[in-house]
């Protein structure tokens, strides 16, 4: 009664190929695959015509979807191919791992932080599973990658490479598995410590293996991670399994399918998924006989798509270099490293910056899986339904408006949900019109579209609840932002979502981008909202220390650049910059920190002093200094006189006035000296120039309130009619005295008078 245990490397294309060869040869009557037995109900979907890998089986505890486990499959995963093979040939196939209702019950203590929850969710290589242990001390030991150890012994740089060359790239089939068994047995003898969860899993595998034998199957093939092989082949180990498996904790779990992506498969997302280069593996799976020509041609194609010229001669030379490198390193064939190095040396002039493209588009790849209709629902959708229900909202296809009062807890929760969905780009609720600052009201329109279910499930790869997914997705979006304005609008969208880590990542991204940006107005635009958060604690959970440090770094990035920003810009840019300076000025006053305001006024002084600043910017800076009493009357007069001197082009003078007078009419109303200077300047203009600049002045005045305008007109009328000051004699003393008692009562002065 032969049992063949095939030790594979999860997602190894070579393993896949060898498994298929062996299955063809052995014609087993049953196949056991490492995986949760609950997944048996999902087996029928493997051969579904609309099932397109990468896809993942998702298992989660019903009461707590955050406690979940993904089993990703790619077209080159050995498990995937073994199961499909079995179904094609009508061979019974079963999963044989520890049932997840035990495994997930054991991990009830998973920490709540987002990243950690995510880390424990993926099963790809054995090392990762072992990271799933209950005991911290245990997991530490397991993190010492056993294959990395083997690689070191045999002179390879890392465990991946060792696998690739020793097993994945070997072309003969059956002996390979014997070899693996031997090597892993030796390795496990060297490191006899077994994690508790591993011991349980292996015991369960043996249990299933035994019961399968009892059922009378004659030719059993087991496909499991190489690390487990010795545990399943050594009969001594079979003792004591029953007592070990007694009394395991239990929890209710559910399983479903979710589409997966190559990006999720790779290390890059921080998911610890174990396959650094899913795109490369797909190439190995599809193109075994290629000497690198196909791969390097694809590389060249990616470069060309991104406007980098690469000729066929480059490809030829890269192939030659890859093979020469492989020969020098005693490999029978060039691997990914050789191709990367030859691409850099031949196609990129030694510079690896462009390799980012290759990593993204080729080595990782942008493949997304698809799952057929009718598969069970994903937990993120369930979480969404739950929130909708608890907030007493309804999914309806006809639009419906609701008004939220954020002071009420449920309304606030609704608002948070809508904002999170907005981050996830699910347009169920959209804000009907933009609200003013500081109001507690929000207007939303809700309109449901069945397609949104798909959009929601698509987001399942980011997390199992709306909160987790929105947070991860926000982190992803922040990473993709490449300009200050993009990231600041993202931050504005993100703040009402209360997604702490996501917002922190976005802020960090803003800091990074501001370091490499020289777009001063954009930086300034980002500054004011940050200050508001810092001052009023807008984000409840965001780390204020971090915001402070970012406020500081953004501020000190603005200052040196601001000195030069107003030089040589056009009118539109000047207007923009002027508005930004006002915003930042207000924000600096709001901060009430002496260090900031001192440095701010020093810089403003420099801009005001500079001859090269755009006149409008110069105007606002002078105004800021004037407001701060930095100028006495005499100096103000001299600044005005200088800026409005007839030697300046009139349009420049008008722009300067606009900058200075933008904030309000009070100066014109109450400062006679300034008003006289302006009057004199206006009168001194000839007709043609006057007509040219009148629209500019009109624009300035148009920002004033009607009351200010009326007062100003009155004042000017008085001046023209020769009345400079109101005359006391025009007062009717008697009538004026009549109102005094009324004012007194208003001010409660009556008593005092009585006394």
């Amino acid at each position: 009664m032969p049992v063949h245990v095939l030790g594979i490397r999860h997602h190894g294309p070579g393993s896949s190929r060898h498994v298929l060869h062996v299955l063809e040869e052995l014609h087993p009557d049953v196949i056991l695959v490492e995986g949760p037995p609950e997944g048996d109900t999902l087996l029928k979907w493997f051969s579904h015509a609309n099932m397109k890998p990468p896809v993942a089986m998702l298992a989660y505890a019903t009461d707590n979807p955050k406690n979940a486990h993904f089993y990703p499959f790619t077209e080159y995963s050995p498990e995937w191919n073994a199961i499909r093979f079995a179904q094609e040939k009508d061979i019974p196939v079963r999963f044989m791992d520890l049932p997840l209702h035990h495994a997930l019950a054991g991990t009830g203590t998973v920490t709540e932080t987002v990243t950690e929850t995510v880390t424990v969710t993926v099963t790809v290589t054995d090392q990762e599973i072992e990271g799933y242990t209950i005991d911290d001390k245990d997991s530490e030991q397991v993190k010492e990658d056993p294959f990395g150890y083997l690689a070191k012994l045999t002179g390879f740089d890392d465990g991946d490479l060792w696998w690739e060359h020793q097993v994945e790239r070997a072309e003969t089939a059956l002996e390979v598995f014997d070899g693996i068994t031997e090597v892993i047995s030796a390795l496990r003898e060297e490191f006899p410590d077994v994690q508790k969860i591993d011991a349980l899993r292996e015991a369960w595998m043996r249990k299933i293996l035994k019961s399968t034998e009892k059922e009378g199957f004659q030719n059993i093939v087991v496909v499991c991670g190489a690390w487990h092989v010795p545990a399943l082949t050594d009969s001594k180990k079979f003792k004591g399994d029953n007592s070990l498996l007694k009394g395991l904790p239990k929890t209710k779990i559910e399983m479903t399918w979710v589409p997966w992506t190559y990006t999720r498969m790779s290390f890059h997302t921080g998911y610890g998924a174990g396959v650094r280069s899913p795109g490369w593996y797909r190439y190995l799976w599809q193109m075994l006989d290629d000497d690198g020509t196909y791969w390097l041609s694809k590389t060249a194609a990616v470069f060309r798509e991104n406007a980098t010229d690469v000729s066929s001669a480059h490809i030829i030379e890269s192939v030659k270099l890859s093979n020469a490198l492989a020969a020098l390193r005693n490999y029978n064939k060039p691997g990914l490293n050789e191709h990367i190095e030859s691409t850099i040396a031949v196609m990129c002039m030694g510079d690896d910056v462009l390799m980012k493209l290759i990593w993204r588009d080729l080595i990782v790849g942008s493949v997304i899986g698809e799952i057929p209709e009718g598969t069970p629902q994903a937990p993120i959708y369930r979480d969404f339904e739950k929130s909708v229900k608890s907030l007493r909202l309804k999914l309806s296809e006809t639009p419906k408006s609701i008004t939220l009062d954020l002071r009420k807890e449920t309304d606030l929760q609704k608002s948070i949900l809508f904002h999170r969905l907005k981050i996830l780009k699910i347009q169920w609720a959209y804000e009907a019109f933009s609200r003013g600052k500081g109001t507690f009201k929000e207007e939303w329109t809700l309109q449901w579209d069945p397609e949104m279910v798909i959009e929601l499930i698509e987001k399942a790869i980011w997390g199992n609840t709306i909160e987790l997914a929105a947070n991860q997705f926000l982190i992803h979006l922040a990473g993709n932002c490449n300009s200050i304005s993009e990231i600041s609008s993202l931050i504005e969208d993100a703040i009402p979502t209360e997604l702490t880590t996501g917002i922190e990542t976005a802020l960090q991204r803003l800091d990074d981008l501001s370091a490499s940006s020289s777009d001063i107005p954009a930086l300034m635009a980002a500054f004011a909202p940050l200050v508001r958060i810092k001052r009023y604690g807008n984000v409840r959970n965001t780390d204020l220390v971090m915001i402070s440090s970012i406020v500081r770094s953004v501020f000190y990035r603005i200052l040196p650049g601001l000195e030069y920003a107003p030089n040589g810009i056009n009118e539109e840019e000047a207007l923009n910059l002027t508005n930004r300076i006002r915003e930042v000025h207000d924000a600096v006053l709001l901060l009430e920190e002496e260090e900031f305001s001192d440095d701010w006024f020093t810089t403003i002084q420099k801009v005001a002093d500079s001859e090269q600043s755009a006149p409008m910017v110069n105007g606002i800076c002078c105004k800021i200094l004037y407001d701060r009493n930095q100028f006495d009357e005499e100096e103000t007069a001299s600044v005005f006189g200088r800026s409005l001197s007839l030697a300046n082009p009139p349009s420049a003078s008008a722009a300067w006035i606009e900058g200075f007078l933008m904030d309000g009419a009070s100066i014109l109303l109450y400062d006679d000296v300034i008003r006289n200077i302006i009057s004199r300047w206006l009168i001194g203009l000839n007709d043609q120039i006057f007509q040219e600049i009148i629209p500019l002045l009109r624009r300035t005045v148009s920002t004033y309130s009607p009351a200010e305008k009326r007062q100003l007109a009155l004042k000017l009328q008085q001046i023209q009619s020769g009345v400079t000051e109101p005359d006391d004699t025009r007062w009717d003393q008697k009538r004026a005295q009549l109102i005094i008692p009324f004012y007194a009562s208003l001010l409660e002065l009556k008593k005092q008078n009585d006394e």
Partner: protein
């Protein structure tokens, strides 16, 4: 006689090592090579031979880069070593050549004045006038000699050579022959011939390679020292060499000063602080290790001749700013930003911050 020579060529200086490697070499040798590619690698990276002979490392850094360099030479592509000053480009090119052909002397030094006669061939004008064009009147260049004898010719500072002269290498690299139209003949390269060029990739005012020429080279960029400790050590050694001629005795604060200068240079060069938390803009200058050395040297000179003999932040500030701020507007903004976001708040950096602030 060789005792009087200031600096021996690599193949003489390391003759014993080369001989030992050749003796124990069992690998397959490409035609024209005196040892196998993996032996060349051993010679460069150091190691112990089977015979127990110890080989000193010639290049300290990433082994993979040397593998790419050697593998390139086994194909018939030319090799271009690119990098900042002080990253051992010429050193590597000399040693690879010494290991492969045993003759590192075939060298064309690239300058703005390097003419085509220095690359292809020249004439002995007296003979040319008396006999007309003839083999005898032809003056061979190192390139021509390397072609005839299947050796490797080194071209130093390739990007300093004028573009038209650079391009005369194209025929040599792609057709592997050098036509001599005056004699109606040509020189065919024999097996083993190849070119190793070195060039500086951040130097200003160089002649960029034409794309036709670029296409004939495989490029390996030699990076600046990978860790701050490595770089501080390199600066320390070189500056202590300078000190031997002066009366200054290095103390502990001296190493600290080096560390600060190297930190400033590395952070600005990499555009990120050492702790990786804050991103920075980079100035236009190269900020190489070589420049850090010269900042230290001039700071020491200042302190000895104009200061109290103790190295102070003041002495270094002018050097630091002079090296970083090459463009009075752009670089100044970059450095001011750096001062305010990084230097200002760093523990124990108050003095450098103030000295720089006073100068800028």
């Amino acid at each position: 006689m060789s005792e009087n020579i200031l600096r021996l060529p690599a193949e003489k200086e390391f003759e014993a090592e080369l001989n030992a490697i050749k003796e124990s070499d069992s690998g397959k040798k490409p035609e024209g090579w005196q040892m196998s590619p993996s032996s060349v690698l051993t010679y460069l990276m150091g190691g112990k031979l089977k015979s127990g002979f110890e080989i000193t490392p010639k290049y300290i850094g990433n082994k993979r880069l040397m593998e790419i360099a050697i593998a390139t030479l086994t194909t018939d592509r030319a090799l271009l070593l690119y990098g900042l000053p002080g990253t051992a480009k010429s050193w590597v090119s000399e040693h690879i050549t010494a290991a492969i052909t045993g003759d590192s002397g075939l060298l064309v030094q690239g300058t703005a004045g390097t003419s085509e006669e220095a690359v292809r061939y020249g004439w002995n004008y007296a003979l040319l006038l008396s006999e007309g064009p003839s083999e005898r009147a032809l003056v061979e260049t190192p390139v021509m000699r390397a072609m005839k004898h299947g050796k490797i010719v080194r071209v130093e500072e390739l990007t300093r050579i004028g573009s038209d002269v650079q391009d005369s290498l194209i025929t040599i690299l792609s057709e592997k022959m050098l036509p001599v139209p005056e004699l109606n003949t040509q020189v065919q390269a024999t097996r083993g011939f190849n070119v190793i060029a070195t060039a500086n990739n951040r130097d200003k005012g160089v002649n960029d390679l034409s794309s036709a020429l670029k296409r004939r080279f495989n490029t390996v960029i030699l990076p600046v020292p990978a860790t701050i400790e490595e770089e501080v050590e390199i600066v320390r050694q070189r500056v202590t060499g300078f000190l031997k001629t002066s009366e200054f005795t290095p103390d502990k604060s001296f190493t600290e000063e080096i560390k600060r200068v190297v930190t400033i240079f590395r952070e600005l060069r990499n555009g990120v602080t050492i702790d990786g938390k804050t991103k920075l803009k980079s100035p236009g200058g190269t900020l190489s290790t070589a420049e850090a050395i010269s900042v230290m040297n001039s700071g020491l000179a200042l302190s000895q001749h104009f200061g109290d003999g103790k190295l102070q932040a003041d002495d270094l500030a002018s050097g630091i700013i002079g090296t970083i701020v090459k463009d009075p507007v752009q670089d100044k903004v970059v450095f001011q930003e750096y001062m305010d976001t990084v230097m200002k708040s760093r523990d124990g950096w108050k003095d450098v911050y103030r000295s720089c602030r006073d100068l800028i």
